[in-house]
C-alpha cells in the first residue's frame, strides 16, 4: 500500500546508518553524567532544606483554637499575636498563654541597624521559652542567630541546653521583622536566677545572587551557610528579671513504678511530673531485655474526658538520664485541671541488641553489616574540601506512622575496627522522594577522611522497627 514511501524510508534509514558516530560522543556522555551528579547533589541539599522548611510551615498551619476572651487578651497586648503563632503547635503552651502564664518583657537592644527584642518568656521549673523579635532598620537581608548565651546576675554562664530554629530564606527586605523562640532546658529550680542577661550574636548570611542563578544551585549553596556568612561585630545584650513566684511549686509529681511487658520486653514507668509547660514521663527499660528500645511513638496523656495531649514534636522531646532511663516530654494539660490522668502508648521503636551496629567497608563503599534491608548505603563521597568522607544512606520508612517524623538513626560517635572512638563531623537527614510512595529518608553521616585500618562501625540510636502492645496506666 505504501511501498513507495516504505522504500524511500528504507533508503533514508541507510543514510542514517551510514552517518558516522562522532568520537566526541564519549565526552558528551561524560559531561551529561557530571551535570547529573551536580544536579543530584543540589537536589539532595534542597530536599533537606525542604524538610526543615516543612517543619517550620507546620507551625503555621496548625489551626489556632482561640476563645473570645483569649482573642481580646491577645489584641490588647502588642506583639502577643506573633507569640501565639509561635506556640500554636503545642496545646500546652497555648493554654499557658491563654492563662496569662507568660511573663511579658518587651526589652530591646539595638546595634548595626538591627533591633533585638525579648518579647516575653514562658517559664516554669523545667523549662524557659524565650520569644524574640529581630527588626531590620537598615538594609539587612538574611539574618540569623549565630550564637547566644545566658548569664546570671553574677555574670556566671548558665549551663542549659538550647534549641532554636534557623530562619531559611527569610528575606528581611520583605519581612521587616523575624520572630522566633529559644527553648531552654533549665537546671534545677534553685539555680534559676532572678535576673538573666541574654547575650546574642547575629550573623548575616549571603545567599542571594551568587554564581549561577538557577534556583536549585542557589538553595544548595545556601545550605553550606558556614562558608557564606558574616558574623556581625556587635553583641546584643538584654537583661530581664524573672518572676519566680509565678511558677514555683506548681509542679505535680506522681510516682507510678509500674512495669509492663511488650513483646517480652520489660518497661517500667517510674514517674510523671506535670509542669505548666510540659509533662515529663520517666521510663526505665530492663537491662535484660533482648531488644534495645529507642523511643515510644505514641506516648500520650489522656484525661477523664478523653482529651489527649501528645508528645512535643517541635523542641526538646526527650532526655537521657542513663542508657536505660529516658524522660519523655509531652504537651501539658496542667491548665485544663484534669480530674483523672492516664498514660497511654502502643508502639515502641526497638531493635535486637545484637543488631545495633552498621559496619562499613570504606574502601569498597559497602555496608558489610546492618540490621536489615531497611537501611542501604547509597554513596560514599568526599566533601568539597576533601577532609570529610560523606556517607549517604537511604532508610526505608514505615508508613504512614513515621510519615511526619524524620530522625537521625546513628550515634554521633563511631569507632574503627580497633575500638578507637571518633566523633562524626556532621550528620543530617531529609526526605528524598525515591518513588511515588515517597516516604523514604536520606541520611548523611560525615566522618573524618583518614586512612582507617579496616571497616568503621556506626551505632544505631533510632530505627523504624517496632514492638507493639497497648498500655494504659492510671496516673491519678
Amino acid at each position: 500500500m505504501f511501498e513507495l514511501e516504505e522504500q524511500e524510508l528504507e533508503k533514508t534509514k541507510k543514510l542514517i546508518e551510514q552517518t558516522p558516530i562522532p568520537e566526541k560522543i564519549d565526552q558528551y556522555i561524560d559531561s551529561g553524567i557530571n551535570k547529573g551528579k551536580k544536579r543530584r547533589n543540589a537536589l539532595r541539599k534542597r530536599n533537606i532544606l525542604i524538610s526543615f522548611a516543612a517543619s517550620f510551615l507546620l507551625i503555621f498551619l496548625v489551626s489556632i483554637r482561640i476563645s473570645p476572651v483569649f482573642a481580646s487578651y491577645v489584641s490588647q497586648i502588642p506583639g502577643l499575636d506573633k507569640i501565639v503563632q509561635l506556640v500554636n503547635y503545642d496545646k500546652g503552651l497555648q493554654l499557658a498563654v491563654e492563662n496569662e502564664f507568660m511573663q511579658l518583657i518587651g526589652l530591646s537592644d539595638e546595634h548595626e541597624d538591627l533591633k533585638f527584642t525579648v518579647d516575653g518568656i514562658i517559664i516554669d521549673e523545667s523549662r524557659m521559652m524565650l520569644f524574640y523579635t529581630i527588626e531590620n532598620k537598615g538594609d539587612h537581608q538574611f539574618i540569623n542567630l549565630d550564637n547566644f548565651s545566658f548569664y546570671d546576675e553574677k555574670g556566671e554562664h548558665l549551663k542549659a541546653s538550647l534549641t532554636y530554629e534557623h530562619f531559611i530564606e527569610m528575606d528581611m527586605r520583605k519581612h521587616k521583622t523575624l520572630t522566633g523562640k529559644i527553648d531552654v532546658n533549665l537546671p534545677s529550680v534553685e539555680e534559676i536566677p532572678e535576673t538573666i542577661t541574654l547575650e546574642a550574636r547575629l550573623r548575616e548570611e549571603l545567599s542571594e545572587g551568587k554564581g549561577d542563578n538557577s534556583k536549585s544551585v542557589r538553595v544548595g549553596e545556601e545550605f553550606d551557610y558556614k562558608r557564606e556568612m558574616n558574623v556581625l561585630a556587635s553583641t546584643w545584650k538584654i537583661q530581664f528579671s524573672i518572676d519566680k513566684s509565678k511558677f514555683q511549686d506548681l509542679k505535680e509529681e506522681y510516682y507510678l513504678n509500674e512495669t509492663v511487658m511488650i513483646e517480652d520486653q520489660s518497661i517500667t514507668f517510674n514517674k510523671v511530673t506535670v509542669y505548666p509547660t510540659r509533662i515529663a514521663v520517666e521510663v526505665t527499660y530492663d537491662n535484660n531485655n533482648s531488644k534495645k528500645i529507642f523511643s515510644i511513638d505514641d506516648l500520650r496523656i489522656v484525661d477523664e474526658k478523653g482529651e489527649e495531649f501528645a508528645a512535643i514534636t517541635n523542641g526538646i522531646s526527650r532526655r537521657y538520664i542513663s542508657d536505660n532511663t529516658h524522660v519523655f516530654y509531652l504537651q501539658s494539660n496542667y491548665f485544663v485541671k484534669p480530674k483523672e490522668l492516664y498514660l497511654k502508648a502502643s508502639r515502641f521503636k526497638a531493635l535486637e541488641k545484637d543488631k545495633l551496629e552498621v559496619v562499613i567497608n570504606l574502601e569498597e563503599g559497602k555496608i558489610t553489616r546492618r540490621p536489615d534491608e531497611r537501611i542501604r548505603l547509597d554513596n560514599v563521597g568526599v566533601n568539597q574540601k576533601g577532609d570529610e568522607i560523606v556517607l549517604e544512606f537511604l532508610l526505608k520508612r514505615e508508613q504512614p506512622l513515621d510519615e511526619k517524623y524524620f530522625y537521625d538513626i546513628f550515634n554521633f560517635q563511631y569507632t574503627d575496627s580497633f575500638g578507637n572512638n571518633y566523633d562524626a563531623k556532621g550528620s543530617s537527614f531529609g526526605s528524598f522522594p525515591v518513588n511515588e510512595d515517597g516516604f523514604d529518608q536520606q541520611i548523611f553521616y560525615n566522618v573524618e577522611n583518614i586512612d582507617y585500618l579496616g571497616p568503621i562501625i556506626l551505632q544505631i540510636d533510632q530505627y523504624p522497627t517496632k514492638i507493639t502492645g497497648d498500655i494504659s496506666i492510671k496516673v491519678k
Binding site: 500500500m1 524510508l9 543514510l15 547509597d378
Partner: protein
Amino acid sequence: MIIRAQEGDSSAFYLLIDQNKEKLYRIAYSYLKNEVDSLEAIQEVTYRAYIKLKNLREPKFFDTWLVKILINYCNDELKRLKRTILKELDISQASESTNIVDRQIILEALDRLDPKYQTVIILKYFNDLTIEDTAKLLNRPIGTVKTWLNKALTDLRKTLKKEGEANV
C-alpha cells in the same frame, strides 16, 4: 548492572549509556539531522537519565526508557527549532551513493508530520522496532500505533506529492 547504577555507581551507569550510544545517536540524528544537535541530545539524555534513574522501576526496561527520554527531548527540541529556523541537513559526511537531496526531502517531510506520527516512523523504519515494541514504548495500545503508522504514511505521501509538484 542497572541496579548497580541505580545504587549510585556512576561507572556502571556510564557503561549502560555506552552500550546504547550508537542507537541513541542515530535516533537523535534522524530527528535533528546534524551532528552538533545530536551530540547535545546525547548529553541531555545522559543527564536526564542519570537524575531520574531511581524512578525506573523495572531495570529490564532501561533501554526502552532511554529511548523514550530521547524522543521526548527530540520532540521538544524540534518544536523549539521550528520556531527559529529550519535547519539545513548536515550532508558533509553522508555517502555519495545515496541520493542526498531525496533523503533530505524525506526527512523534511517527516519533520512536518505530527510529532507522534514522526515518532512511529522513526522507530519502525529507522530503528526496526516492531509495532508491539513501539506500542509498549509509547504506552499506547497496539491498535493506536497501527492507526498512527497508517496516518503517518498517508500524510507522508501527501507531503511528498506536494513537494514533488513544487519541484517540477
